[in-house]
Symmetry: C2
Subunit: 443 residues, 2 copies
């Protein structure tokens, strides 16, 4: 369902270089398969598509069906991996304008992913007079951003519909046994779903973390898991010539070794904007450590051909591109004739916009090669759930292989703690007194 | 209204380096001021805040007032500079959720900025049953993306409200005299606004290109221009020690010379997401040429501290950050006490979220410095219209100075034509026959 095409990067990669990467790919594959590498406590995602809690999966679908009846707006509270996967999937499968579109499923708004008072107040305005449900997603329950938002929305629900009804409208996705949020949920009787211990945040979209909001938006999560399961089955061959996923991983490391510092993830569909953001977390957080890593950037073309396009074409040669090429559009549009041909576009009459978009992709790819920027292409069948599930698993596995090839632990994120420690100290959180004065002296 | 603070980059820049940049700054300043540098046909933006068409400005406000009464949805058709500025300003001043919020001004949707049939169909669904007006923005009227969209929405309006009413609902922003769109507008009697000859697309947000949609969304365009006029007046001193705008320009070139390949524009407010995108076009298109330029990336923190934050903290040291620090939030929120303190956040009781957000900014900045990433800070008073006008002019002028320091023409975009030529050839556009076969052979 996903193939890798390196033909447009051929001027930048000699044919024998691929074979030269096989040893490193094999080593990474064996480390991942044996489960004896760095971060091996977090390999739950590897078998997740076939080895998940079927009872919980059924409860997710039941909760989504219930919300379809009793909810106008689902407020999803979470940050990082508890935010990006669900939003990416909903916008990709439905629309970036999902909330504005006519539909028979609830609006879905994401919250608790910043410390902006303005964003929070705006959302409270939008909720006014609507039937609101809340899905709070946090393993610990103490992460600052979602914890503040949950304080607010829990109080909002209790005030507007009463404590009893609020209990029915709060869905908690958290640790299966520990943590303050789990304790609260048990006491209040909130329905709970599990953030598995062995799946890191950025790999969690196919757990309840992502699946509940995705299901609420009316997406087919059975097909999503089916696609991921197919990828789990197919993307196992250590032979680089036979494994598109490993080809992509190897291509990334090859580009880095050639001095390309930035990978630009490209799509020609606005629906993929947040999928790009999900990808950026997956790769940036997995590989950006120990002074290493490719910086993950993203664009949506042709939109950004009229923005960053100039740089990609003719700027510093520090980039390479990876294009997600979706072969079938979700909805078609045929360009009609204008008898007056005022805009001179009648040469497009009778063509589908998808065909024009495809020619834009091909024309751009050739132009960028001429300008010194190599492009790799991931051909994806369509933008349906099954393909997305496959693509998610593809990116996750490629990330693990790429990270092991780079020599990092692809499953930790020690750097994320640094800002939190400083923030807590500056805010005067008990236990951080000793750091406070030293930090304030530097301001 | 905007100050530049380099204190957090001090470990990366020796004090004498600033003085060492003065000569280059002075030279760029003199080139810009004399108007004898590369691209000097496009310097209209320099005096635009004080030298604009007041009659047209009044018509913009009148058109916005009219649409407030007769329009539910304004569809803005444009790409690149005819898209990003207006969207950035509306989201920044109002909300990324502007359309969803309760308000007494029309929804504003942007279209004609991609070749996605799905995005176009989605918007047609949203328009169903609504009172729609259209603002098409294109200097020539023949740019593919907006031309396709305008074909569709012109036909849609003529079909749903009739030819006569459609004429009242179509607002055209185009060349003052030439082009097919101008010809059509004159013939049909559409109200027209002008894309000035001497202002490039990415510098056009303070012309009718940006001002009409911004005014329709209920923003105060008088204050916007007032802020820009203040910047025009204040940011003229060639002495780098006295000019925040030139300090920022110099800092960028300094970082590039130290091997930083990527500038990351940072905000701690989701409202600035599209302002970041506007900034990326401004700098990417102005400087990304002749094999040169800083790659412009962007993040919104704390959201992306749980995504790209790991890379910034601990990944490859190829980045520097510029933070837009807005000193006053648009809307405040005080964190209340939770008697049970379930999330352990009671140390924040009584604090405003803005204060927490500010401590996140300071804590992050110190952490990133420790991790090897320098941060420059642009302190902006607030997120009101006047400040935004000032900030827009600040970025435009800094871009010109930075571009001249880099040795490029900051006002052209020759690379944008490359993909178009290939696309036209692959689509069989008359006049491109000779290129077609050669391109197809490479596919």
């Amino acid at each position: 369902m996903v193939t890798f095409d390196a033909r447009y990067a051929a001027p930048f990669v000699r044919e024998h270089e691929w074979a030269g990467l096989q040893n490193a790919v094999t080593a990474a594959h064996e480390t991942l398969t044996a489960g004896n590498g760095a971060g091996n406590d977090f390999l739950g995602w590897v078998t997740l598509p076939t080895d998940y809690d079927k009872e919980e999966f059924a409860r997710i679908k039941a909760a989504a069906a219930r919300m379809k009846e009793d909810t106008d707006i689902l407020v999803v509270i979470g940050i990082g991996g508890s935010y990006l996967g669900a939003r990416a999937a909903i916008e990709f499968l439905k629309s970036p304008n999902y909330n504005a579109k006519p539909k028979d499923t609830p609006d879905v708004y994401f919250c608790g992913n910043s410390i902006s008072s303005t964003a929070l107040q705006d959302l409270l305005d939008i909720c006014e007079g609507k039937r609101v449900s809340v899905n709070v997603i946090s393993k610990s329950g103490t992460t600052t951003e979602p914890a503040i938002a949950f304080r607010v929305f829990r109080a909002y629900l209790e005030k507007t519909v009463g404590v009893e009804e609020a209990r029915r409208r709060i869905y908690v996705t958290t640790d299966k046994a520990r943590g303050t949020l789990k304790g609260l949920a048990d006491r209040e009787g909130y329905e709970t779903f599990v953030v598995p211990d062995n799946v890191g945040g950025r790999f969690s979209v196919l757990t309840a973390v992502g699946l509940l909001p995705i299901a609420v938006a009316g997406c087919d999560i059975d097909a999503l898991m089916e696609g991921a399961a197919l990828a789990q089955k197919e993307l196992c061959d250590p032979d680089i010539a036979k494994n598109a996923c490993y080809q992509y991983a190897a291509a990334r490391q090859l580009m880095l070794r050639k001095g390309r510092a930035v990978e630009l993830m490209v799509s020609y569909e606005p629906n993929a904007t947040m999928l790009n953001e999900w990808w950026k977390q997956l790769y940036g957080e997995s590989e950006g450590k120990d002074g290493k890593g490719l910086f993950p950037g993203s664009v949506v073309f042709s939109t950004d051909l009229h923005s960053l396009g100039q740089f990609v074409q003719d700027g510093a040669n520090i980039l390479f591109e990876t294009v997600m090429n979706f072969e079938q559009p979700q909805r078609e549009f045929i360009i009609e004739e204008d008898p007056e041909n005022i805009d001179g576009l009648n040469f497009l009459t009778g063509k589908s916009m998808a065909e024009v978009n495809r020619k834009a992709f091909l024309g751009t790819t050739l132009a960028h090669a001429d300008g010194g920027t190599p492009t790799f292409v991931l051909n994806v069948a369509d933008r349906q759930e099954k393909s997305l599930g496959y693509l998610i698993y593809f990116f996750e596995k490629a990330c693990a292989i790429s990270g092991y090839m780079l020599g990092v632990n692809p499953f930790d994120q020690p750097g994320v703690e640094s800002y939190k420690k400083n923030m807590f100290a500056l805010l005067g959180k008990p236990g951080y007194e000793s750091e406070k004065a030293a930090l304030e002296a530097r301001l």
